[in-house]
Symmetry: C2
Subunit: 197 residues, 2 copies
DNA sequence: CATTTCGCTCAACGTGTGTTGACTCAACGA
DNA sequence: TCGTTGAGTCAACACACGTTGAGCGAAATG
C-alpha cells in the first residue's frame, strides 16, 4: 500500500510545494474577501498549515498580499488603434471567462487597501499609456483613460459585483457590444473590422 | 462676551446636532478609508465625542455605516432613450464634480463589505431597470447593464482610484466623449442632440 | 553514525477593535 | 424647588488579529 509518491520529498521540492499551496490559498481568500477580511489564520487553515509558517515564508501579511496579488502585465506593444481595440476586446473576452485570481485579489482590495490601489493605478496607467500611443490626436490620453475606465467598469461589474446581466451574457456578445463603443471613444467611429473577437 | 448662541440648547436640538455631527464624520471616514479601516473610535474623535456615544446613537458599527452610506436614488422616470442618456450624462457631470459623501462611502466599501455590495447591486439594478425600459429591443438589459458599467467605471476611476487623466479633465469634456459611446451602447448610433451637458 | 540544518508546530504576547455598564451632571417637568 | 430624564463620559471587557520565539523531529551532510 505504499506508493512511490509516499517516499519523502527532497527539502527544496517540499518547500516549493507548500509555498505554492499557501500562495494559492492566499490568492483565493484575498480575491474572495479582500485584504482586510482575509486573515493569516484563515489562509494557513486553507493551506493546511500553521499560521506561523505563513509568516516564516512571507514575512508579513502585506508581503504575502504583494506576492499573491500580482497582476500579469498585458501584452500589446506599439500597435495601431484598431488592432489595439481588437486586442483589448480579446483580453476582455478572456476576462469575462475566468480572470486570474491574482488580478482578482488586487482588484478586490484596490478601493480599500492603499498598496493595492497603487498596484491598480500602475496597471491602469500602463494600459492608458499603450492606448494613448495608439489613439493619438488632441485628447488622446483622456480618450485612453476613458476606454480603460470602460473596461474597468465591465470587469468590476462582472467579476466583483457579479451583476447578473453581465454574468449570464456570453462573452462574445459583451465584446460585440462594447467594441463599437470603444471604437467611438478611440475616435474612429464606424466601419473597420467586425466586432466579434 | 457672551453671545446668544452660548445659551444652552434644548435637548432635542442638541441631540439632532450631535447626531448629524457623528454622521458627517462617519460619512467622511467611510468614504476615505472604507468600512473596515474606519474605526468607531476615529469617527468619535473626529466628531469630538466619546466612542460609547456613537454606539448609543446608532447601535452598532454596521448600522452606523448603513445610515451613513445611503445612496440617493437617482430620478428619471419612464423617459425615452436619448433623454435618459442625456440625463445620465448630466448626473455623471455632477458626479465628476462632487459626489455626495454617502455615495462615496458606499462605493468605497462595495468590493469588500457585503452589505455595501448589496446596496451597490440594488442601486445599479435600479439604474439598469430604468435604462432597459428606455432602450427596448433584443438585449436591452445587457445594453443597459453595460451602460451602467461604463458610468461605474468612470466614477470609480475618477473618485476612488483618482486617475489623473480623469481628475484633470473638465467634466463637460468627459461627458462629451462618453456621450456618443453611451448612445452607441444604447443602440442609436449617431445624430441626435449635441453631446455636451 | 554524529551533527547540523531546516520545515514545521505550539503557545503565547501585545495591540486594537466593537461593545457594554456604571456613573456624572445639566436640562426638564410638576 | 425637587425628583426625573437623558445626553455624554469613563473604564473596562472579550475577542480576534498579526506577529514572535522556543522547541520538535526528520532530512541533509560529513
Amino acid at each position: 500500500m505504499r506508493a512511490v509518491s509516499d517516499r519523502p520529498l527532497p527539502r527544496a521540492e517540499r518547500r516549493r510545494r507548500t509555498e505554492e499551496r499557501i500562495l494559492g490559498a492566499a490568492r483565493a481568500l484575498f480575491a474572495e474577501v479582500g485584504f482586510e477580511r482575509a486573515t493569516i489564520r484563515a489562509v494557513a487553515a486553507a493551506a493546511g498549515v500553521d499560521p506561523a509558517l505563513v509568516m516564516q515564508y512571507f514575512g508579513s501579511k502585506r508581503e504575502l498580499f504583494a506576492r499573491a496579488a500580482q497582476v500579469a502585465p498585458e501584452p500589446g506593444a506599439g500597435l495601431g488603434p484598431d488592432e489595439l481595440v481588437r486586442q483589448l476586446l480579446r483580453t476582455l473576452n478572456l476576462k469575462m471567462g475566468e480572470l486570474p485570481q491574482g488580478s482578482l485579489a488586487m482588484m478586490r482590495s484596490m478601493l480599500t487597501h492603499p498598496e493595492a490601489a497603487d498596484s491598480a493605478r500602475a496597471a491602469l496607467r500602463d494600459q492608458i499609456d499603450r492606448l494613448a500611443a495608439a489613439v493619438q490626436g488632441e485628447d488622446a490620453r483622456l480618450r485612453a483613460a476613458l476606454m480603460t475606465a470602460v473596461v474597468l467598469g465591465a470587469t468590476v461589474g462582472h467579476h466583483l459585483l457579479e451583476l447578473p446581466e453581465l454574468r449570464e451574457a456570453p462573452p462574445e456578445r459583451i465584446a460585440g457590444l462594447l467594441g463599437p463603443a470603444l471604437r467611438v471613444l478611440a475616435g474612429r467611429p464606424a466601419g473597420g473590422p467586425a466586432d466579434d473577437a
